[in-house]
């Protein structure tokens, strides 16, 4: 018997541990909380390890704080200034996105969609790990006394890290997303494919059991879907690293993810202790502040643009700071250059007539009862003077006649629909065949006249001189538009 005592002892120890394993696995849900006896053993082990870990962590933090807060203060002012500028820039960007966000919220309300806002978080420090690559576990220095509970999401500003598993009084266990027993609902941002994220044997997070899809490309962003009721929707998870075939479950694929949070060097974590359907007050205040600052900037730009367009608004006697003025004017000029449409310049006139810009003399140069004599329209020497047509109707009449000898042509038809001219001695035909049709005498029938005068018929286009006795043409009745 003494010869087999060693092997009997080994068998006894093995049997006891196997029974212990069977008791632990017997629970209906193996992922639920441990049995009290197991929890007690874990509590003892963690109680044994965590105090020295906390001491070392505290000592290291103290030394690092002493160095970074009191000794190594180079470039702090510059960094502070850069951070302030970054905050201002981000607030402006936030303001520009505010309207889109509000629209999204309205649409979500219409769809009765529940948005989860991160309402409160508890910052924690990593003090230790499980120490084995078979189990990706972290230990943090906050526990149930700080309001932590199992299944709370753990994140960093870069992305999700994991969830709380066992929570003790002053210490908690974080199950990292790279563990093989973890799970998180995720969404590929551009293709909108959903999947379950868990770790693989090498400790890389991967989306498992994905059907082959050519749209999934490396570099695509992955976010939380919110379907697991642990991680709020929309938190960054990482980017697609590569797609590999699942050798155990063909034809499914595994999508290896490069995590957004640096899972290898985690120090400070945030535990989401409360998520709500409503936006937190602090976030509302930030948004309101951003909106106000954005509006102020927009208004300032608008006033600059207005001042640029209306120089009379500027008080010439106002005392201005030259530097400030220079800065404002530079910014305003850049904004105004993009905002003010360029002035429209009509193309130069090929053949000027009295419809052309600046062809009509100013009103104070005119004499009542006298015809406008434009030297450009002066009759050529030896030309037959024509009597009885107004200055404005003659070119059109001549041109119309040249284009369409029949008085019932197109131009006549247009003129027929317009107001017929009053009978006037000046409009009475003097030469047969050169009768001005009623339509051609009306300005409504003349839009084509200044557009394209025939260049090969200058004699026809030249109007005959008006007799000095001819009364001025009534406005709207053959008179030139002023």
């Amino acid at each position: 018997m003494s010869r087999y005592k060693n092997i009997l002892f080994l068998v006894t120890v093995l049997v006891v541990q196997i029974i212990g394993l069977a008791v632990q696995i017997r629970r209906p849900n193996p992922t639920s909380a441990d049995a009290p006896a197991v929890r007690l053993i874990r509590y003892w082990a963690i109680g044994l390890m965590s105090p020295p870990e906390k001491v070392i962590h505290g000592g290291g933090t103290g030394l690092r704080g002493l160095w970074s807060n009191y000794l190594d203060l180079r470039h702090v002012r510059q960094q502070n200034q850069e951070l302030r500028e970054q905050v201002g820039r981000l607030q402006l960007e936030q303001a520009t996105l505010l309207e889109d966000a509000r629209q999204g919220q309205r649409l979500q309300q219409l769809l009765a969609f529940k948005e989860h806002y991160i309402y409160s978080t508890v910052p924690t420090q990593v003090i230790g790990t499980s120490g084995t690559d078979q189990s990706r576990i972290l230990y943090v220095d906050k526990g149930a006394k700080d309001g932590l509970k199992p299944d709370m999401a753990v994140i960093t500003p870069d992305g999700i890290v994991g969830k709380l598993k066992d929570v003790f009084a002053h210490t908690s266990q974080v199950l990292v997303i790279s563990d093989q027993t973890s799970g998180a609902g995720v969404l590929l941002e551009s293709t909108r494919l959903r999947g379950v994220l868990r770790g693989n044997a090498l400790g890389q997070p991967q989306i498992i059991n994905m059907l082959p899809d050519d749209r999934v490309k490396p570099g695509e962003r992955v976010i939380t879907s919110g379907g697991d009721q642990i991680y709020p929707r929309g938190l960054p998870v990482g980017i697609v690293d590569r797609v590999v075939a699942d050798t155990q479950n063909p034809p499914y694929l595994d999508i290896i993810i490069k995590p957004a949070a640096n899972l290898g060097h985690l120090e400070e974590l945030l535990v989401i202790t409360q998520a709500s359907d409503h936006m937190p007050e602090k976030e509302k205040q930030d948004l309101a502040q951003s909106a106000a600052e954005g509006a102020a900037v927009s208004q300032r730009r608008a006033s600059d643009i207005l001042a640029e367009r209306l120089p009379g608004l500027n008080d010439p006697n106002a005392v201005v700071d030259p530097k400030q003025d220079q800065k404002h004017s530079d910014a305003a000029a850049a904004a105004a250059a993009a905002a003010i449409p360029p002035k429209l310049h009509p193309p130069p006139t090929l053949h000027a007539d009295h419809y052309s810009p600046d062809a009509t003399p100013p009103a104070n140069a005119l004499t009542p009862g006298h015809a406008i004599v434009d030297p450009r329209y002066a009759p050529e020497p030896g030309a037959q003077p024509r009597v009885g047509t107004t200055a404005d109707s003659k070119p059109t009449a001549a041109k119309t006649t040249a284009r369409s000898p029949e008085p019932n042509g197109d131009t006549a038809a247009e003129g027929a629909s317009a107001k017929p001219p009053a009978h006037h001695p000046a409009t009475s035909p003097a030469v047969p065949g050169q009768e001005a049709s009623p339509g051609t005498a009306h300005p409504a029938a003349k839009p084509k006249t200044p557009k394209a005068p025939p260049t090969d018929q200058p004699a026809e286009a030249a109007p005959a001189p008006e007799p000095s006795t001819a009364p001025p043409a009534p406005a709207g009745d053959g008179g030139p538009p002023q």
């Binding site: 005592k5 060693n6 002892f9 120890v13 093995l14 394993l21 499980s130 189990s135 027993t181």
Partner: protein, 173 residues
């Protein structure tokens, strides 16, 4: 006659350690193993508690002591993970038993022997661990055998130097 010779050799070569060393060295190994991966993530490929189990088992040359040492260290390791208690406990108590049994028969002071037994026992420990996980607990988890072999190689190399350090805490006769 043969039995009495073996017993005499065991009595002659058995190592005795102070209780403080026996308690503090395993605890320190577990502590360092849990702390260092926070700063050096790849450190978790090492298994210092397993090396301590092997070292004490082959030094004591007592299978019962090796079994108990392996079971206790393995259970503490299990308690720090999210897995059921006993997976590492079972695998390490088997390793402790076999290492103590082997220590009676071979010279464990030789660095080459240490390299080989560390490699073999690390692989055995991983094999038992994965067998329990996959076949007794029916957990469908992936395994990368290349990674496990690399892990065994690294453990065996580090173990040679680690054993040399532990030799220094052994009281001289």
């Amino acid at each position: 006659m043969a039995i009495s010779a073996s017993a005499a050799r065991r009595e002659l070569d058995v190592q005795r350690y102070p209780l403080l060393v026996v308690v503090l060295v395993p605890l320190s190994a577990i502590f360092v193993q849990a702390l260092i991966p926070r700063f050096i993530p790849r450190f978790d490929i090492l298994d210092l508690p397993l090396l301590v189990t092997i070292y004490f088992a082959v030094g004591w040359r007592n299978p019962i002591a090796g079994t108990v040492t392996g079971a206790v260290i393995g259970l503490i390791q299990d308690a720090l993970t999210n897995r059921p208690l006993g997976i590492n406990g079972i695998s390490q108590c088997v390793v402790g038993f076999l290492a103590a049994s082997l220590g009676v028969k071979i010279d464990v002071e030789n660095p080459g022997t240490r390299l080989l037994i560390n490699f073999a026992f690390t692989l055995l420990n991983i094999g038992i661990y994965l067998f329990i996980l996959h076949h007794m607990l029916a957990q469908n988890l992936g395994t990368n055998w290349l990674h496990e072999v690399i892990k065994a190689v690294i453990n065996s190399i580090v173990g040679v130097f680690f054993f040399d350090i532990l030799d220094r805490v052994r009281p001289r006769d």
